[in-house]
Symmetry: C2
Subunit: 359 residues, 2 copies
Amino acid sequence: MGEFDLIERFFKRPTPQTDSAHAANAPPGVGIGDDCAVLPIRPHTQLAVSSDMLVEGTHFFPNTDPRRLGHKALAVNLSDLAACGARPLAFTLALSLPEVNEHWLSEFSAGLFALADAHNCPLIGGDTTRGPLNLSITVLGEVYVAHGQTQALLRSGAQVGDDIYVSGQLGDARWALMVLQGQLKLPQALSEPHHGSPTQDSPLFAAAQLRLEQPTPRMALGLALRGIAHAAIDVSDGLVGDLHHLLQASSAHLKTPEPLGASLNTEAALGLMAAAHYLPKDLVLRCVLSGGDDYELLFTAPPSARAAVQTTALASHTPVTRIGTLEATPGLRLLDAHGKELGGADKYKSFDHFSSQLA
Amino acid sequence: MGEFDLIERFFKRPTPQTDSAHAANAPPGVGIGDDCAVLPIRPHTQLAVSSDMLVEGTHFFPNTDPRRLGHKALAVNLSDLAACGARPLAFTLALSLPEVNEHWLSEFSAGLFALADAHNCPLIGGDTTRGPLNLSITVLGEVYVAHGQTQALLRSGAQVGDDIYVSGQLGDARWALMVLQGQLKLPQALSEPHHGSPTQDSPLFAAAQLRLEQPTPRMALGLALRGIAHAAIDVSDGLVGDLHHLLQASSAHLKTPEPLGASLNTEAALGLMAAAHYLPKDLVLRCVLSGGDDYELLFTAPPSARAAVQTTALASHTPVTRIGTLEATPGLRLLDAHGKELGGADKYKSFDHFSSQLA
């Protein structure tokens, strides 16, 4: 099968029609098949752009379920749009494949398009070539402009005194990865109900593996937080590492003499991992604080917005937990349930692809 | 060196300022460093998007000069914008690297940014990870909308009776590749003036190698052809293959009962390769008609536009050659200088990455 046949068979779909919500006068867009895709952009919007690359052996195991991989390749990009409060418009896919495996391609494209359809985000172009397995997606979204101000959620808008929130769960992707890598033996309490296959058949492990392999981008929450959150980022490198990015960007924006800091309530954080009761507390903290690959939204909002944040969470069907406070004092403080400092925050560093997760 | 240090050192540059030609009221864009880049888009424009991936061993040799590679990775994407008559806005780079080689990164980014700066096309985001060498770029451009009509040049606008043109030279990239692959021994006439190193020091070979490794995207010509050309495509797969794509798209658009065809003047085509006099005629024809990797513009325009096309070529400092005619009769006909059909057009098939160039 050649490149053009492959695209025709697995990736070509009817040219997306211009969304009826788009300006009625805008000429229709042109999808896959020309040198470029041409997209109408609505007035009073800006374009949000993000690119993420997933590489076999670095970001996923060679035997990863291709349907989940198709989902994840787009999900990690959509998550960046969510963190900016952007609405998805379209995406491109550049795909390097070692061979044409029709089953793999069929499953991969099914997972990819299921998520794309759920978010009304058509594939509009890309590239297919031979080489080591590599999935490179660029996603385009729109953010609104009101009164000359962008409505994008940025990392740089946090203020001293802001509450710190995180959506959904944290840490599950990391302990699932540790089990798959053979670094962590599944505790008996988790594997007991399942005779014969102690690690792979536990429902809690299966749920954690799903979080690793098929993360949920928090699109509705991201859109709903516009005008409520001061700053947002998605948790891909790990909570502490991404909080550090947010603090850095906000400090730079505020031109504070010293970098901003934060206190985190570790009890609230521990509660974010479904399997927390079955694993050692230190491991749970490491997974939650620096696990990475969570694709949850980490955001800040003023205390006056607490009711609005909870309403937003309910309306977007996304759990949100308040886990800390943004402070003028530099550094990160880990507190227990009584607000007493635990120490040891320094060891929860960011995930960095060059001290690679899988390698 | 970690991912964030690497980006900071080799790829972070001052946030691009909003072009003064942009709407004065548009909020400024946000560059590298947030979850997404946020770009203002001017009224009465549409977005043009293209993604291309270059893989080591498939698209370039492991020892390719990294500065040229940085140029080429962006050039092949810009060429797609040129073929649509789009003006570059910005690009993202997703980069997978087997190791952090500072010399390589420094040279690569120098080549990349030199071309980006020449076309006022800033890097606004991307991804860096560990893995087999892979360069994935998505370029964004703007096309104008006038009277509710897109001004984008498309593949699908060609008409029966149109002249067929190509810019610049064709075929040089292919014979340079054949020499580098050891498939073609440099003819003595080309190597003679250079004692000692018969293949690598000939000026004609060096020029052809430059065409392979550092192609020139025809941005000015693409922009200038709007309103003159009926259809355009860039020659990446080879002249015959890309002409076939243009004919297919235009036939579909016109809903012709049979696919459109074309006659090509092979004498004019032979003249497009600088080394034509020194190589066997059959080889020259193969390089010109199906070599690929040329990144020239192939376009059609009505005979009434001949003077306008030549004026456009002069104004954009880009040679343009009329090489054929678009016809209602399906198929491709190769003609000699006297208009007599040569036959054998079928053997000049398209380059396809899955019958890979380098593998």
